[in-house]
């Protein structure tokens, strides 16, 4: 990070409410990119935030929130079309079917569609892609799933050389939105400015993936809503629609995507791994970077522990959701319901590959030359040696090492460390006495 920190900061859609924040250190300690500082008694996001939501989970006072479209409801278009993460199907207990949920959702928002089915199409496309690549490439394995926006951002800022390993297919939520959008244009049911396509998800990072996509020039979605934000409203309408319309079309596999391991469960045989949770994700990315997993073909990373059912904007506990999900998979079968010939045709036509940006983000986040950066690092080591290494966070930085960096960068004062300060005095007194 270093100096360039201020001007290179990416935007983020996580916000701290000053009125609720009491300046404890819990969010700062939880942040995997060390983006938070406590200054003047309030937490502040000052570094590279990847919208993972760890701080949302960590705050006992509910002071950290993700910005979504719903907080800005006035700006939602009059005709809404909603696609939902399959995680929604796990939130209402084991008796309620995905179709019941989609029907209830339709009462709240006007139009809905089943994204789980598109997940299965995406699985087929991934199989095609891996098969083709096996024949031509020996290097550049493993491929990395492009689904989790937090993982994509983590790679862009901390593992830029792995950016090229990300599977170059457009994620299902975007493909689905693009198809709906095209159909609406062609059939011109609404005026284009009247409709909006939104994604209902457990994810604090969908908003940034829509507003500032890494792979697409622009997103096909208009916004995102958190499942927990509309949960109660949907619940009111469960079982209130007795029509026989079937909106849900996927098999068990498309739903399985809601938890870790679900995406690769939809792939045919190959060497795949599913890794979930922030610490494990970082560890495995480090291993890939060192060339240690070259024998694996595809890694499904999910930043949230247990996968998207563990997302920060869910309404029920992730283990409860897992229980429901496992039951759904048993009911709908460990298989995909997609039409293979349709999927193959779509793949050949470039359905999954189109519109993808190819430029790789810059790898240097700072503006220092190598010489200056080494010098800075030397000074960081010097300051670090003076610190008590209690990792308490009272100074307002997440740990002693980051505090040392902040001191060197002029963003903190050595005296902000109370232990160092008192120790320093003692030395002086002994000296003078």
């Amino acid at each position: 990070m270093g100096k360039g920190r201020e001007n290179n900061l990416p935007t983020h859609y996580v916000q701290i409410d000053d009125k609720l924040c009491n300046g404890c250190v819990l969010c700062m300690k939880a942040c995997p990119t060390k983006a938070i500082r406590v200054r003047n008694g309030k937490a502040r996001i000052r570094g590279v935030c990847i919208d993972c939501g760890e701080c949302i989970r960590a705050c006992p006072r509910g002071a950290v929130k993700a910005i979504t479209t719903v907080q800005d409801a006035a700006r939602m278009k009059p005709y809404t079309i909603l696609s939902s993460s399959p995680v929604l199907y796990t939130q209402f207990g084991e008796e309620v079917t995905p179709n019941d949920i989609l029907l209830a959702l339709r009462k709240v928002f006007r139009h809905v569609y089943d994204q789980a089915y598109v997940n299965e199409l995406f699985n087929v496309a991934t199989e095609f892609y891996i098969r083709e690549r096996r024949e031509t490439e020996e290097e550049g394995w493993p491929l990395i799933s492009p689904i989790c926006p937090v993982v994509n951002r983590l790679i862009a800022y901390r593992f830029p050389q792995l950016f090229k390993n990300i599977l170059p297919l457009i994620p299902p939520r975007e493909i689905a939105a693009r198809e709906v959008r095209r159909r609406l244009y062609c059939e011109s049911v609404f005026k284009t400015e009247e409709f909006g396509i939104y994604h209902l998800s457990p994810c604090s990072a969908k908003m940034i993936s829509i507003k500032e996509p890494l792979f697409l020039n622009s997103s096909y979605l208009d916004g995102a809503l958190g499942i927990n934000e509309v949960y109660e409203e949907i619940k009111k309408f469960i079982g209130k629609d007795n029509s026989n319309i079937m909106i849900h079309r996927s098999g068990g596999v498309g739903i399985w995507w809601g938890m870790s391991g679900g995406e690769i469960a939809g792939l045919d045989s190959g060497k795949y791994l599913a890794v979930s949770g922030m610490p494990e994700t970082i560890k495995y990315l480090e291993m890939i970077e060192m060339g240690l997993l070259g024998n694996i073909e595809y890694v499904e990373f999910r930043a949230c522990s247990e996968g998207c059912i563990g997302g920060p904007m869910t309404a029920v506990d992730k283990y409860e959701a897992k229980h429901v999900l496992q039951k759904l998979v048993r009911t709908y079968g460990v298989r995909k319901k997609v039409d293979y010939s349709q999927a193959r045709k779509a793949y050949r036509e470039g359905w999954f590959l189109a519109d993808r940006k190819t430029d790789i983000p810059p790898h240097r986040s700072g503006t220092l030359s190598i010489s200056e950066a080494i010098q800075r690092q030397e000074r960081v080591e010097e300051v670090y040696r003076l610190l008590p290494k209690k990792e308490c966070g009272i100074c307002g930085s997440p740990d002693c090492r980051t505090f040392a960096e902040d001191v060197v960068d002029g963003e903190a004062d050595l005296d902000d460390c109370p232990i160092h300060k008192s120790r320093d005095r003692k030395v002086k007194i002994v000296h003078e006495g």
Partner: protein, 149 residues
């Protein structure tokens, strides 16, 4: 000329923390902002030599030396030493015990990998007398450093 030196202890047979030193080095080089290709070469060597100590060595240390033109890594251990250095540099040659091979280590790629990735390698070892390994990485070697990239 700015220079940064850091020494990390490595414990023999500590498989839980094996690889930690290399990960720390990788992080440090990233913070400084070296080219990814260079970082990759250095971390592969750091990892292989760290694992060599964990598997075969007694306790040891890894010292990292960074300066704007060269990165230097020295690894010392007080283990049993290498009997035949020429053989050790051959791909597939391994003295790892069955137990280690079952854990997925000791495929005999350690030193050959190091030879491929480092610009110069110096190794001194005696049976029973520990091992000293020194690896140099030049910053001008086609890693895009200094090319204004």
């Amino acid at each position: 000329m700015p220079q940064l030196t850091k020494t990390f202890p490595i414990k023999a047979r500590d498989f839980i923390r094996a690889g930690e030193v290399s990960i720390q080095i990788q992080g440090l080089l990233k913070t400084i902002g070296f080219e990814p290709a260079l970082i990759r070469r250095v971390s592969i060597c750091a990892y292989e030599s760290e694992m060599n100590v964990v598997m075969h060595g007694g306790d040891g240390t890894l010292t990292l030396n960074v300066d704007p033109s060269v990165i230097l890594i020295e690894v010392k251990d007080d283990g049993p030493g290498i009997e035949n250095i020429e053989l050790a540099f051959q791909e597939g040659y391994s003295t790892a015990s069955k137990e280690y091979r079952e854990m997925g280590f000791g495929a005999g790629m350690g030193l050959p990998n190091i030879k491929k990735s480092a610009d110069t390698v110096e190794i001194r070892s005696q049976k029973g007398g520990g091992t000293y390994l020194k690896m140099c990485f030049l910053l001008s070697r086609g890693d895009g450093q200094g090319t204004g990239k």
